[in-house]
Amino acid sequence: MDPQKYWRQIPARYRLEAYKCKNCGKVFFPKRLICDNCKSREFVKAEHSDKGKLLTYTVIRTGPADFQDQTPYVIGVVESENGARLTAQIADVEPENVAIGMKLRMAFRKINKTGDAGVIMYGYKAVPEFE
């Protein structure tokens, strides 16, 4: 991946920066320029929420070429407490212990390595949240 494409997304991938529509309050991750709910173009940084629940998931057995060495891995749709949704790997749990509705917490993790130099790419994964 070209560095500029990677660096551009660091606020979203490293810090889960979400934005809230100033007018209607809808939370977006990643950032958008116009709200699809009310068409407002003004946003404020949203309260960061690293807690959420699992809406659905799968276990990837055959992955894209550069993820093949990680298989099997679990990936799912996570809805955070502020309403923002994202797709993330579900880590630190055996596939058979993953269930729709389970409570999760977002964590900063290594996602992949790329190219011959094995440059490491970072981002978010979700891990089980124990109360």
Binding site: T58, V59, R61, P64, M121
Partner: protein, 390 residues
């Protein structure tokens, strides 16, 4: 708007066609449709292709089409909307003719996918998802549909066996389609015993990687009646087009293909018809779960009952509404840009009564539904036969 008819159809066989290049496929299919229409020139060309750049290092198919069809100078347009690129090209041609701008228009959907390795073909396909926020985290296309399947099973009690029955039916249908890539019978046990790709989807839940092209020729209805009545006239009575979110996670209800709901509503409204008026349909079964969600989205059954409807046999060739009599993407094959046009061809052949061994008894009104990505776009087309063969 002028009314529009389909006056010619033609396609290549679907499969791993190593002896045929991208342009061979494009031209072979186009000429077949032009021969079927009995035209040797057209006013415009529309080409549907998802990613000839990634799959074959060749963009600018509009020029290639005109050039290699011996029609340099004719305006040509290439359309892209992932897996609905073929239907989008058809829509372009429909509007071109309906508006009165052009009379005879050729539509060709094409994809040459086996000139690159399987890994590269899969990577190319995955560009139809959200690269920055889905692909980056390691999601695959089967993975996205697997997440839809898991959510559907949890919410509605759809069973693993019901998914299998979609594959079993479509493979059985393909046995009667000489153009199909996989003419082999499968059993539910074979589907469930095949290698797991993304739980709960096995390899036999997935459509294959395919080379192929499919073409139709369209003309104004009045001109078709006057000059092209050597076939039963097939009229375009409904065409609905809609978008959905690019990322699955942004979809309010993960089990609902809302782009299909909207495209279907628009097509039904234009045709002045509802789901009960449709005799048969070609649905975009890129994965078995997709066909189940589409049955629901198009109103062929209630929300959540697509699996049950399949299990009851209502989608079999002798059922309430035969679905994917061609074998569907699942068994006929899925050369992405060609798929939408090939669905339309199946409707035309059935309506004309030219479908050979797989001819349905009642096939006056047919519906084709094409789906892009994990639901980011959809086009629904409704065709009707007029009068009898001249």
């Amino acid at each position: 708007m002028r009314e529009v008819a389909i006056i010619g159809v033609g396609m290549t066989e679907f499969g791993e066609l190593w002896d045929k290049s991208l342009r061979d496929l494009l031209v072979e299919s186009s000429l077949k449709a032009m021969d079927d229409a009995k035209v040797d020139a057209v006013d415009a060309i529309y080409v549907g292709a998802m990613s000839s750049g990634l799959f074959d290092n060749q963009e600018h198919l509009a020029s290639i089409a005109a050039d290699y069809l011996g029609m340099v100078g004719v305006p040509a347009t290439r359309c892209e909307s992932a897996c609905i690129s073929g239907s989008l090209a058809f829509k372009g041609a429909f509007l071109d003719v309906a508006s009165g701008y052009s009379d005879i228009v050729l539509v060709t959907g094409v994809e040459k996918m086996t000139d690159v390795s399987g890994d590269k073909a899969v990577a190319g396909l995955s560009t139809a998802a959200d690269d920055e926020f889905e692909g980056y985290n390691g999601v695959t296309f089967p993975g996205l549909y697997a997440m839809i399947a898991n959510a559907h099973m949890k919410k509605y009690g759809t069973t693993r066996r019901q998914l299998s029955l979609v594959a079993v039916k479509n493979h059985a249908n393909a046995l009667k389609n000489p153009n199909a890539q996989f003419r082999m019978k499968v059993t539910p046990e074979a589907v469930e015993g095949s290698v797991m790709i993304a739980d709960p989807l096995h390899i036999l839940d997935c459509s294959p990687i395919t080379d192929g092209a499919a073409s139709v020729v369209v003309a104004p209805l009045e001109l078709a009646k006057e000059k092209f009545a050597h076939h039963k006239i097939v009229k375009v009575i409904g065409l609905g087009h809609a978008t959905g979110t690019i990322a699955l996670h942004s979809r309010e209800d993960i089990t609902e293909l809302d782009a299909v709901v909207k495209a279907g509503e628009r097509a039904y409204k234009m045709a002045g018809l509802g789901p009960d008026d449709i005799d048969f349909a070609e649905l975009h079964d890129c994965f078995t779960i997709a066909e189940i969600c589409e049955l629901e989205a198009l109103g062929f059954c209630a929300k959540g009952e697509g699996g049950l409807m399949t299990e009851r046999g209502e989608t079999l060739p002798d059922g309430k509404i035969p679905i994917n009599i061609s074998g569907g993407l699942k068994a006929k094959g899925h050369p992405v840009g060609a798929t939408g046009v090939s669905q339309i061809i199946e409707l035309v052949e059935q309506i004309r009564g030219d479908a050979g061994d797989r001819q349905l008894k009642k096939a006056d009104i047919g519906l084709a539904q094409n789906l892009g990505g994990s639901g980011g776009s959809s086009i629904v087309t409704i065709l009707k036969g007029l009068g009898s063969r001249v």
